[in-house]
């Protein structure tokens, strides 16, 4: 689950996803003592995964301009190339066109995490999350027209 979330976040970059997954588990290990029973271990691990992914952006020194560009709304005209036959690549390409936060939300939705849990992981209210999901759905429909 963690590796897949990292893969989605890193747009299918296997090597970076492996490193990030390892970092997540290092954080899990280092913070085991702080785990309180107020959430399930799964939610807790997702929370660490999401935060590690977001922190990863900060560490990317050379990508400063890329990051600020990517965080801004993407133009709605981006579409997945129609000759992209590999569905996994098509999915990653579509996710790459989303903002970092939206990629994480998409990953968690695909992992079938309930909305209430996603909202608690991100620390936002469910209404805000629903708006985000609605926007993501519209964008994914445009990005993957045949989906």
């Amino acid at each position: 689950m963690v590796f897949q979330l990292c893969m989605g976040f890193l747009k299918g970059d296997n090597d970076q996803a492996e490193d990030l997954t390892q970092e997540v588990f290092i954080q899990v290990w280092n913070n085991l003592g702080t785990f309180r029973q107020d959430s399930t271990p799964k939610t807790w691990i997702y929370r660490i995964s999401v935060n590690t992914c977001l922190n990863h952006l900060k560490k990317e020194k050379l990508k400063s301009e890329k990051i600020s560009m990517a965080i801004r709304e993407q133009p709605d005209t981006v579409e997945i190339s129609s000759n992209e036959t590999d569905p996994i690549k098509a999915l990653y390409t579509a996710m790459a066109a989303l903002s970092e936060v939206d990629r994480l939300i998409t990953g968690m939705l695909l992992e079938e995490i309930p909305n209430a849990e996603i909202a608690s992981i991100l620390g936002i209210n469910e209404g805000n999350l629903r708006v985000k999901i609605h926007r993501i759905k519209i964008r994914l429909k445009k990005l993957i027209p045949n989906d």
Binding site: T52, L110, I121
Partner: protein, 196 residues
């Protein structure tokens, strides 16, 4: 799942079954322990180096040179006082970094990260430049008394040997401030993107 299309879910699930575990649990544990120890060693190391430098400075400025003039004594007090002030700030900053925000909801994590980075930027810019400035002023206050005992050549050598590394240090500080400012901007944008 009702939120996203079933096709996407099927692709995602297929992907999940084809993924091999990227690394063994034992490696992760070893790496975790190593990184944790390195991080603690680095932070402690930093403070130890600063603390030892302070003690060496105390020895030279108070006992070895044993300045007599009031101006020199004010200079020594300024140099030592602001150096100690910088060490205390560094220790405070390390203390703030230790908080386990990685396990908190992302909005809290980003909020705390923003505060922490703002503190770092403030420490590395305003307070560090202030420290350097006051430290330099303290050093200048020492020069009249040094001039009584040293020749012009050695006075010039001492001033140059102070200001050349000082300029290099200022450039390094500036680079670090820019790096931390960039990180701060990233965190602020991420927070905005999350709360939007």
């Amino acid at each position: 799942m009702t939120e996203l299309n079933k096709n996407l879910k099927a692709i995602w699930q297929d992907l999940g079954t084809s993924i091999a575990p990227p690394t063994s649990a034992q490696n992760v544990l070893l790496e975790a322990k190593k990184l944790n120890q390195n991080s603690i060693k680095f932070q402690r190391g930093n403070l130890i180096v600063l603390g030892l430098s302070f003690l060496v400075m105390c020895y030279f400025l108070i006992f070895f040179f044993s300045f007599q003039d009031l101006l020199s004594k004010i200079g020594v007090a300024l140099m030592l006082g602001f150096f100690l002030f910088r060490i205390v700030l560094e220790a405070y900053s390390i203390g703030q970094a230790k908080s386990d925000r990685i396990t908190e909801p992302s909005s809290n994590n980003l909020e705390k990260e923003e505060k922490y980075l703002s503190l770092r930027v403030k420490i590395h810019s305003t307070y560090t430049y202030l420290t350097l400035g006051v430290y330099t002023l303290g050093f200048i206050f020492l020069l009249p008394e040094f001039a009584i005992h040293l020749s012009s050549f050695w006075m010039a050598a001492m001033v140059v040997s102070y200001f050349v590394p000082g300029i290099i240090l200022t450039l390094i500080i500036r680079k670090n401030v820019q790096k931390e400012l960039h990180e701060l901007r990233t965190v602020v944008e991420l927070k905005k993107s999350l709360m939007d």
